[in-house]
Amino acid sequence: MRQLRVIKTLIKLRLSNLMVFRLSFFGAFLIDGSMFALQLVMFNTIYSQVDSIGGWSRGEVVIFIGTFSMINALNMLIYFFGINDLPQRILDGRLDHYLTKPGSPLLRLTFESVDIGSIPLVLGSIGIIAYGVSLAGITLTAGKVAAYIVMVLLMTLLWYDVELILRCIPFFVISAGGITQLEQFIELCFKVPGVLFKGVFKVLFYFVLPYGVMATVPTQLLAGTLTPGGLCYAVFIAALFTALALGLWRLGVKNYKSASS
């Protein structure tokens, strides 16, 4: 209950801050919205030439893009702007402010930069998913929708874990340069439905950096093509990466040498 009060206060403070920069308020929505609109156009163009890609129909790919957009929107809405700057805070010692205050530093970092301007992106993603569902001719049930929502939240947690793991690296090395660049490089591969990956890419994007699982598994769940094995794997990988991220954070904080890091 106390943690919820902390989160509520952090959101209130963030809202006051956002109102100062009104032009940037919907920045994340406009930037990511344009990215997903172009991804839709891109796959639509490819589907004008072919009937299916790796057994996925146009509708399934639209659901995939909508799901990817939804996970990204939740990432922007809740935690991205909070943990994005973590490497710099470690390097210049600003993390001290978080460690010396009462309460969980990770909780504060995660929720202190909530971006309300990303809410339209969530609504837009729902629109894309609904369009995909109608294209694919999927019959929705309350159970299926509930399971899909749970899976999207689980995959949002998985994305958070991967982001946190990458941003904990500067606890142990001198330079933080390139981590976000590396992430941008990896996330480009997130735009490809995971079912298309084969061989070494399958291992890389399903286990080492599980971006291939994140939007693919909820899409398969909604389309009714997810196997029990696939479902168990998604839950297992989310649990594993959550444990890894929290472990690495704790180890990193122990290793943190304040401004001299």
Partner: protein, 264 residues
């Protein structure tokens, strides 16, 4: 001219310090090739041709276009201007005895020249790694024309980013427009998919825009296609470059008076 050459040389040498940046730049290039090999590999598994492309010509297209788009470092210019105007350190560009566009252009050219060698090596490595029968034209006229068009395209992108950078004098917060522009440019230059896949009326409309000639048409020319568009392409992109010269001059001279040099 000599002073800009010196700026170019310094910028070239300075890149040696940022070795990780070189690595990441090369990685950016490979993502598009991975995307192409994964998606198009699956599509071509069940058919031999899509919109006149075979798997080899499609992958060759992505390697060439990826190489050309990696050479376009002009967004650094726009970002540099934006942040320097915002934090009040743009004054250094106003006091040096060189035109701002020339200074930033020479800096970008120095970086691009440094990356040229690495990007070429990377392109060869990807051809070998993905075992692609690289389909490049042997027609010297097409190669020279494509390189000239690509060079004009890079100048245009520099002018465009410079123009957006100048707008910071007025709007202060243009990072959002820069990022949206980056998203759109990736698509309209044909870096994500070949524009030949789009409906014909859309392609016809795109021919009037400069972006068609930045990456897409030079890449197509280098893989031996669209040769009939060579001359008209060079003329159109040259007209765009020429049109942006007075536009940038006027906008800069008009808006720079708003700069206070104290940061925002």
């Amino acid at each position: 001219m000599k002073k800009y050459l010196e700026i170019l040389k310094i910028s070239f040498k300075a890149q040696i310090i940022y070795r990780m940046d070189v690595l990441f730049q090369l990685l950016f290039g490979i993502t598009k090739i991975i995307f192409a090999s994964v998606v198009w590999g699956v599509i071509f598994g069940s058919r031999s041709e899509v919109a006149g492309f075979t798997l080899n010509t499609m992958l060759s297209y992505y390697i060439v276009s990826s190489f050309l788009s990696c050479m376009d470092l002009s967004d650094i210019t726009g970002n540099e201007m934006t942040w320097r105007i915002r934090d009040g350190t743009f004054s250094k560009y106003m006091v040096v005895p060189a035109r701002v566009f020339g200074y930033l252009g020479a800096q970008t050219a120095g970086k691009a020249a440094f990356y040229l060698t690495f990007n070429l090596i990377a392109a060869v490595v990807w051809v070998l790694l993905f075992q692609i029968k690289f389909a490049i034209t042997s027609n010297a006229l097409l190669i020279i024309g494509a390189l000239l068009m690509a060079a004009l395209g890079l100048v245009f992108m520099l002018q465009l980013n410079y123009f957006l950078g100048i707008l910071t004098f007025k709007f202060q917060d243009v990072w959002m427009f820069m990022m949206i522009k980056n998203n759109i440019v990736q698509f309209v230059t044909g870096s994500l998919i070949p524009l030949a896949l789009l409906p014909q009326p859309v392609i016809d409309a795109m021919r009037l825009l400069p972006f068609y000639y930045v990456t897409y048409l030079p890449s197509m020319l280098l893989i031996g296609r669209n040769g009939e568009e060579l001359l008209s392409g060079i003329i159109i992109i040259a007209v765009w470059v020429a049109a942006f010269i007075p536009l940038n001059l006027f906008t800069y001279n008009h808006l720079r008076k708003r700069y206070e040099g104290v940061g925002i």
